[in-house]
Each structure stands twice: as structure tokens, then as C-alpha cells.
Symmetry: C2
Subunit: 180 residues, 2 copies
């Protein structure tokens, strides 16, 4: 199995994306590395064993990749946190600030049984806006947030601290401590 | 394990989405059904055993869900076929017609080793536009398309026939034969 350090080396730095001065952490080079997707998901599951969860919420779009694998591995329900206008039935929605502007996420109302203990999954945590918005949606829909998991944690943006302040513990496999 | 017929009953019909007169096949009710995501992916993998593939291409966004599970199960590279402007490095792109307008998909150039035999995965095939565009991108990038797999096949829209005409064999787990 690839170690977390090996996986971290498979992430590509793309300068000036999506805007000048930002170094984008590109996970697609990890995804195309044979075996690394499986191993990254395994490491996330292992780190998440501290959480008691019975459902997974995946944040669009790259969160779907890791959320789906974790949900499938554990035979758990998978609920999608999506961009506006994508979910066909009745939704609840939440606006949030993100690194490069503002955005909105939606979730189907009554997507999960009330009282579900949900693990929020995304590929990356930056300022934490989308994960906090997801937590808010889940709570408004009668669920508990059991924790959150990310492949990459851009620690220097402080999203993790905000998550913990709102009562959501989390794991981030690969910590990036500066904007390099 | 849920049979394909049981899985098909977990798909919700949402009338008049995304526009009046269209009946949307909502897979989110299957995703939140415990065990069904795992089982749907298993059925897809079984059906795809006729294809010889060594990589998986997943079409944004719901295709990421099933593509990721299949790639992870087999320790295969996963390449993302994305909406414009999402991939940070150099891309190739393809416009296509879809059921409700036109769209463009992109893929990173040199995403996979030349000669890779790629399975295209999405949740649904309608008119086949996005899958055909994905096949075109993969071929332009030096790959062979080994086949394609979908959870839902909206047979009455004829996308599957177009795929086969372009040399891409495919499997669709759940066939929907009329606009009900």
C-alpha cells in the first residue's frame, strides 16, 4: 500500500490556477496513479475509524470520488451535497463564502433517516466554507455530523479550525502548511 | 445482494425536471438505500467483465461516483472527464449536443499512458453525447476505448446505438424503454 507520504508526492502543484498567485493542488495525478485511489480511500477510512457514522455525505464534485468509495466499502447510504439546480426533488440550500468568492450548496430534503450520523467527505479543505455549509444542511435535515474527512488539508487557510469550532471533528490525510 | 430489478425500483421518477414534460430518473434514492451503491457497482463490474480495460474514465459529476468505485476495486487509474475550466493543467476539449442543449467536456492532455484501454463510466446514457465526446477525447489522447458502462440506459433516446456505431460497446444495467 502507498504510504500517505508517497500519496502526497503524487499531488501536482499547478501555479496560477484558478487565479494568479494561487498554487492549485491537483489531485488528478494521484487518481491516475495505479492503486493510489484505493490506498487514499483506505487511509481515510482508517483515520475515520474514530468517528461513529452510519451515512456518508459527499460534496460535489471531487468529493463524490472518495465519498462513494467509503460509502460502498461500508454499505452505507451516500447523500450528495450539490451545486444549485442539480438535485431534482425538494431541496434545502445554504450559501457560503469560499476562497475565491461565494457559492451555494443544496441537499435533498429528507435525504436520510432522521438521526443519521453522517461523515462529510471532500477531496480538500481550504477555508472550510463548503464543509460548514454541508454540516448546516445535514443538521437542518435532522442528522448529526459525526465528522469530516479530506484527502488534502490546506492548513494555512484555517478551515479545519473553523470546522472544529462548529463542533465537527475532522481528519485530513495530507497537510499542506504553506502556499509554497 | 440487491438484484438489478430491485435496484431499478429504487430510482425515483421526478416529473418536469429539468424542464416541463421531461421525467427525470433520480438516482439519489438508490444512493441513499443502504447497500445499493455497492451492489450497483458490483453489477456494473460483472457486466463489464466482457471488456478488457486497464483504466477508467468517469464523466462529471455522477459518473465520478461509479467510476471511482470501479477504479478503486480494480486498482486502476481513474481519469476525470470534466466540465470546462475545472481541470487545472493543459486540457483537450470537445463540444457535444445533449438532450437539453449543447455542452463541452475536457480532459487533461497525457492523462493516461498511451495505449491505455479505457472503460468510460457514467450514471446514465441519454442521447450519448457526453459519452461520445469522452470517447473522442480519450482517442485523441492516444487511448483505446474498451467499452462504456452506465447504471441507467434511456433506450428510447438512442444514445446506446450511437455509441455502438462509433465502435464503443457498452452495458446499461437498468433499461428505461419509454418516457413514462
Amino acid at each position: 500500500m502507498h504510504s500517505i507520504e508517497e500519496l502526497s508526492k503524487q499531488i501536482r502543484n499547478v501555479p496560477d490556477f484558478p487565479m494568479e498567485g494561487v498554487v492549485f493542488k491537483d489531485i488528478t495525478t494521484l487518481l491516475t496513479h495505479p492503486g493510489s485511489l484505493r490506498d487514499a480511500a483506505h487511509h481515510m477510512e482508517e483515520a475515520c475509524s474514530v468517528f461513529e457514522y452510519d451515512a456518508v455525505a459527499a460534496i460535489e464534485s471531487r468529493g463524490f470520488i472518495f465519498g462513494a468509495i467509503i460509502a460502498a466499502d461500508r454499505d452505507l447510504p451516500l447523500v450528495l451535497i450539490r451545486k444549485p439546480g442539480k438535485l431534482p426533488a425538494e431541496t434545502i440550500s445554504r450559501e457560503y463564502s469560499l476562497e475565491y468568492g461565494t457559492n451555494t450548496v443544496e441537499m435533498h430534503r429528507n435525504a436520510l433517516p432522521k438521526g443519521s450520523r453522517v461523515l462529510i467527505v471532500d477531496d480538500l479543505i481550504a477555508t472550510g466554507g463548503s464543509a460548514l455549509a454541508a454540516a448546516d444542511l445535514l443538521r437542518r435535515d435532522g442528522c448529526t455530523v459525526a465528522g469530516a474527512a479530506f484527502v488534502i488539508d490546506l492548513c494555512f487557510l484555517g478551515g479545519g479550525g473553523k470546522l472544529r469550532n462548529s463542533g465537527v471533528d475532522y481528519v485530513g490525510l495530507i497537510e499542506v502548511s504553506s502556499e509554497q
